[in-house]
């Protein structure tokens, strides 16, 4: 699978294999006994839990203690305060997912200035440079995810259809890339389609934003929502009012997998590989602490998931069996 996007500074992606650990690396890391802190945007989502599981496992293999796991609750103010607290506690490295752009840039720069390694997940505040303000970015190929979603939604759209795009209002590299790629693919491959873009500021507002968009454009034939949690809220709202629409989204969370198996609203999911992203982030931290050069951007390809391949995709991504509800809906497991 190839990476179709470019990094935050136009970098070409390095594959996760570039940050593989050799037995000697693990032995050297164990002897050092490093302390690593993790700062996440949220700990509630399935995605965040899987990234954390991937990271913590590798860090454990390398004898590195995870000394703090912070849930910023999507709040830039909280993230700035927590990063400053961690800088004072001086772990050897911090893995952080910047929840905003400009508001959190200086706080992240202070981590590197204090001599700690900083590996970023998914987002780089504008102006921060690899090798200077942070060690590396580890993310999904978000541009590729937007493209996969567009390819998946397109067959469900009649000629000259109107399509809604629900983006995220925060200036955030990952969601920006998905939105740009979805729109670009549609403009290039389905020029007959009219796109209407709205952005929600909080997950709780996603359904209201969809409602406002549908009020302005009642003829919408499909929707793209930039990740699964708001997409499920929108799906629930459209289904409750009795007018479900085909929805494409990103991330194969448990509810989204069930939604896909039901086959009512969710028709295509561009899945990230959060467990492997966590693994790659932890390996990048260990290599950089060992003083080895690491690529500026490590990217993991996305996976296109439909009702037909949801079971094996779920297993491949989450490294666990698909939810019983999914198996039941697809007739693979008996039960009510």
């Amino acid at each position: 699978m190839t990476i179709s996007g470019l990094g935050p500074h136009g970098e070409r992606a390095a594959p996760p294999e570039r940050v593989s650990l050799l037995p000697g690396d693990r032995a050297a890391a164990k002897a050092a006994g490093w302390r690593v802190a993790v700062v996440m945007h949220t700990l509630d989502s399935d995605w965040a839990k899987q990234v954390l599981a991937g990271m913590v496992g590798i860090l454990g293999d390398c004898g590195a203690a995870v000394v703090d796991v912070v849930d910023c609750g999507f709040s830039p103010e909280r993230q700035v305060a927590e990063l400053d607290r961690l800088v004072a506690e001086r772990p050897d490295a911090i893995i952080s997912l910047p929840v905003a752009n400009e508001q959190v840039a200086a706080a992240h720069a202070r981590v590197s200035a204090a001599g700690m390694k900083l590996v970023l997940l998914d987002n780089v505040p504008t102006g921060l440079l690899p090798g200077k303000h942070y060690t590396a970015l580890v993310s999904a190929d978000n541009f590729g995810l937007g493209k996969i979603a567009a390819e998946g939604l397109s067959p469900r759209l009649p000629d000259r259809a109107q399509v809604g795009v629900l983006g995220f209002a925060a200036d955030f590299f990952a969601t920006n890339e998905r939105e740009i790629a979805f729109t670009k693919w549609m403009q290039a491959n389905r020029p007959d389609i009219a796109l209407h873009v709205r952005r929600f500021a909080r997950i709780g507002n996603a359904a209201d934003t969809a409602a406002a968009l549908l009020a302005d454009h009642p003829g919408l034939a499909g929707l793209f929502v930039v990740w699964d949690t708001p997409a499920m809220a929108v799906a629930a709202w459209t289904e409750a009012r009795g007018t479900p629409l085909p929805i494409a989204t990103v991330d194969l969370g448990e509810s989204a997998a069930i939604g896909l198996a039901e086959g009512v609203s969710i028709c295509c999911i561009a899945a990230q590989q959060p467990f492997l992203q966590g693994v790659a982030a932890a390996q990048t931290v260990i290599l950089s602490l060992l003083g080895q050069p690491v690529p500026a951007w490590v990217a993991l390809p996305g996976i296109g998931v439909t009702r037909e391949n949801v079971v094996e995709s779920f297993q491949a991504i989450w490294r666990q069996p698909a939810p019983r509800a999914v198996l039941r809906l697809l007739g693979l497991s008996p039960g009510k």
Partner: protein, 463 residues
């Protein structure tokens, strides 16, 4: 922002009674407004006392002009500085967020767009793969779509004041000041296509264009490894190889903006000779990589070929990074050739820092290592004593930052600024108004959206 009025007739220019034919104070105020604004903008003076000292204008003139600049929204005096005994002075800050500038880099294989403030700081950026060989109309459509998307995400209160483009070739006729009124010849594929005219028609703002080597050098100097340096050599390695030269803290452009075209220099290696572009550029790396894949000298590249993959210079660089001997040899040879030419420049200019950039350099360490070896071997010991040779950390962002600096410097260049400062917006510059009128008259029927109205007194409609 209110329309401009003078609060008191205080300047030396205005104390005398106004004789017949003598210009009104509000008109003669322009030179002092320009001087004071640029002192604030460049950080040379941050308080009223400092402004009086640096400008040699009297206290009343400074106070009056600052009021005018405040009304135009170009400065902000809401912050207090540190007291040095007595009352804390009010800080005078440039209102960099008064408006924004759209910037873009057009590369052979990628397009990057961003929004910058009036000090040239990037507020947002996005890069995507693109083929510069596509029809110029398609490229312009994509650029316009990305510009509109960027503007939607970043709304500056004063709207858009300019566009600055970084392009892969020398821009003929690009003067230090003044914006473009027609598309200069840059790439053969763009021959006859009105890129500049189309963008000015769509956005209604002045447009500047510089070569990517120039913008990246400026970006590296102001926001990358070159911060605070007086001498710097920037080398971009792609299909073409070019150098940017910084002397005494300033970009050296030469007589026609063509300084640093080192890619046309003749070099020879292994019995062959040609230009540096042909012997060490990415086309050669790709071609040699393909040959190594076809005759199985490179197992990694041969494998990519068998799986139906494409081999570009990036794949060769990635293979070299993984220890592929044939790819290492290709990049070492390129690095040595570039290094020999760079050594000549280094001996002529004695820079503090040499920055290497381009996606091949970003992907692999081999070319950088070979170049270092060649420069150190061929240079005078004094030249290399404290010389650092590094890889750019900014990537394509350097081009965006540099393009933003080109626009901000041009907007506030004294000769340009005095033509618009009293109106509070460069969209009221007479040359721009004339150009927009001409472009509107020349527009093909039916295909062009209406122009936004020209600005008056600091108000304009966003395009």
């Amino acid at each position: 922002m209110r329309p401009l009025t003078l609060t008191s007739p205080v300047s030396g220019e205005s104390l005398r009674p106004r004789g017949k034919g003598r210009p009104r104070t509000v008109e003669t105020a322009a030179p002092s407004l320009v001087a004071l604004l640029n002192l604030v903008r460049t950080g040379a003076a941050n308080t009223r006392q400092e402004l009086e000292r640096h400008s040699e204008f009297g206290r009343a003139v400074v106070a009056d002009r600052l009021t005018m600049l405040g009304e135009l929204g170009l400065i902000d005096e809401s912050e207090l500085g540190a007291a040095t005994g007595g009352r804390a002075p009010r800080l005078v800050r440039f209102a960099a967020r008064r408006a924004s500038v759209l910037v873009a880099t057009l590369d052979q294989t990628a397009i990057g767009v961003g929004v910058a403030d009036l000090s040239g700081n990037l507020l947002t950026e996005h890069h995507e793969a693109a083929d510069l060989a596509v029809a110029p109309q398609d490229l312009t459509d994509r650029l316009t779509a990305l510009f509109r998307w960027s503007m939607e995400r970043q709304t500056a209160p004063g709207g858009l004041w300019g566009i600055s483009l970084s392009v892969p070739g020398t821009v003929q006729g690009a003067a230090e000041e003044g914006f473009l009124s027609a598309t200069p010849p840059v790439l053969p594929a763009w021959e006859g296509f009105p890129l500049v005219e189309t963008l000015i028609r769509s956005f209604g703002v002045p447009l500047w264009m510089r070569s990517s080597v120039e913008t990246m050098t400026v970006g590296e100097l102001h926001a990358g490894a070159g911060i605070g340096l007086r001498s710097l050599l920037f080398v971009k390695v792609g299909r073409r190889i070019g150098a940017g030269i910084v002397c005494d803290g300033q970009l050296y452009r030469g007589a026609h903006g063509a300084a640093g075209l080192i890619g046309s220099l003749p070099v020879s290696s292994g019995g062959r000779s040609g230009t540096l572009d042909a012997m060490a550029g990415s086309d050669m790396i790709q071609r040699e990589g393909m040959a190594a894949a076809q005759d199985e000298r490179s197992p990694i590249l041969a494998d990519i070929l068998r799986r139906g993959g494409e081999i570009t210079a990036i794949e060769v660089a990635q293979a070299a990074q993984m220890g592929d001997a044939a790819s290492v040899a290709i990049l070492s040879r390129a690095g040595h050739l570039i290094g020999q030419v760079v050594a000549t420049l280094a001996n002529a200019l004695n820079p503090e820092l040499i920055v290497l950039s381009g996606s091949i350099v970003q992907t692999s360490d081999i070319l950088l290592a070979a170049l270092r070896e060649a420069v150190y071997r061929a240079s005078h010991p004094f030249v290399t004593r404290d010389l650092r040779i590094i890889r750019s950390q900014m990537g394509s962002s350097a081009g965006l930052v540099g393009a933003a600096r080109v626009a901000s410097e041009a907007l506030f260049a004294p000769g340009f600024l005095k033509e618009w400062i009293l109106q509070g917006s460069p969209l009221a510059h007479p040359s721009l108004s004339a150009l927009r009128t001409r472009l509107a008259a020349d527009a093909p029927p039916g295909g062009v959206p209406p122009l936004p109205p020209a600005a008056r007194n600091g108000r304009e409609t966003r395009a």
